[in-house]
Amino acid sequence: MIEQICGRYVTVEIAGRQQRIYFEEAGQGRPVLCLHTAGSDTRQWRHILNDAEITATNRVIAFDMPWHGKSLPPEGFQTEEYLLSTEVYMETVLAVARALDLDQPVLAGVSMGGRIALQLAVHHPDAFSGFLAIEASDFQPAWYDIDWFHRPDAHGGEMGAALVSTNISPHAPLTERWNTLWMFQQSGPGVFRGDLSFYTQDDSLVGQLHRIDTAKTPVHFIVGAYDFTCTPEDAKRTADQIDGATLSIMEEVGHFPMSEHPDGFRPFFVDGLARMPQPQAQIAG
């Protein structure tokens, strides 16, 4: 069986450097731009991208961040320490949306992708029609040492996968649990650490969330009860800072909902999309 997902590459300039970005898409209609978690890649969105009902009315797009999946690191990376920053992350999402000519997509981000979705809701709301903040919060200090995941005497990917397994629900099908962990095991040296540096040390979103105008760009949170990196309490604390934001809790799902437990996540994602504005062209049609 040949799947409907189509993958291509686009080169964009980010922070003055050329980045060759891999992206996948499926469907037509309202653009929905999807962001993967730290230490992983676009494959996390495989089930949504293959969902015929969702892609009948939505053009679903997901891309690998530079250094992740099939997006190569930039030229000269071999002597660089990879550390993701809020500024570069926002610029990356905006550059990809522009390069793909997406007209005010819904932005759906998970974990660190959810964090940057909220940053973009604060700083660049006009570029998007709405935000799905999945397993997302304003700030999560690390309960682990991020340096564990990049050291010469152990495999960072295997340790990272074992760590994040904490956040996968026991209700998740075994196959999807291990598919989800495999992506972490494949992560490039130091990449998970560099993502976590952003996720666990950059607290620049704190105190900014009140600036989001949900009348213009709705924000809907989705969080899993088995997520112990961003707990339902963390998501609620964050949602409570945004007037008009809404929140749904998935009782049998963890931190990687679209990948670990596609059937458990799907109804919540469909509900989230229904809360986002329809493009003017579709309303008129």
């Binding site: 309960w143 295997e158 996968a161 904490t166 209700h171």
Partner: protein, 124 residues
């Protein structure tokens, strides 16, 4: 508790993938439950023996300290949130990890899967 640990030991003997993953793991791990000490002596990915404490003379590399009720919840086939994983148990305040944390992290998949062999239907 000792019976469950013996089941884990036997379940590990029947788990060749864990012998491969734990091939370099020959260490002693303390499991402390409601103050009762069990020293799991691992040898190349198998539990060679289980030594009951108390002991102040048995060296161990890391320890998992919890209570019996929490461990029973962890060993349910579908544990409730917080009891589904050893680090989650630490986060909800029902367990503590002592000793060489980095050694645990380097062998995290192995140790998590070994302890989960006590889960209903896993070690059978």
């Amino acid at each position: 508790m000792h019976d469950t640990l013996k089941e884990i030991q036997a379940g590990l003997d029947r788990s060749p993938h864990l012998h491969r993953i734990g091939a370099l793991f020959s260490e002693t791990v303390l499991l402390k439950v409601d103050g009762q000490e069990f020293y799991l002596v691992f040898e190349k990915g198998r539990i060679d023996r289980i030594v009951e404490g108390p002991s102040k003379k048995t060296p161990y590399r890391f320890g998992f300290v919890t209570d019996a009720e929490a461990l029973r919840a962890f060993w349910q086939s579908l544990p409730a949130p917080g009891f589904h994983d050893i680090f989650a148990m630490v986060k909800i305040g029902r367990a503590e990890i002592v000793g060489d944390m980095l050694l645990l992290v380097k062998n995290l998949r192995f140790f998590k899967e070994v302890l989960a062999l006590g889960r209903e239907g896993v070690a059978a």
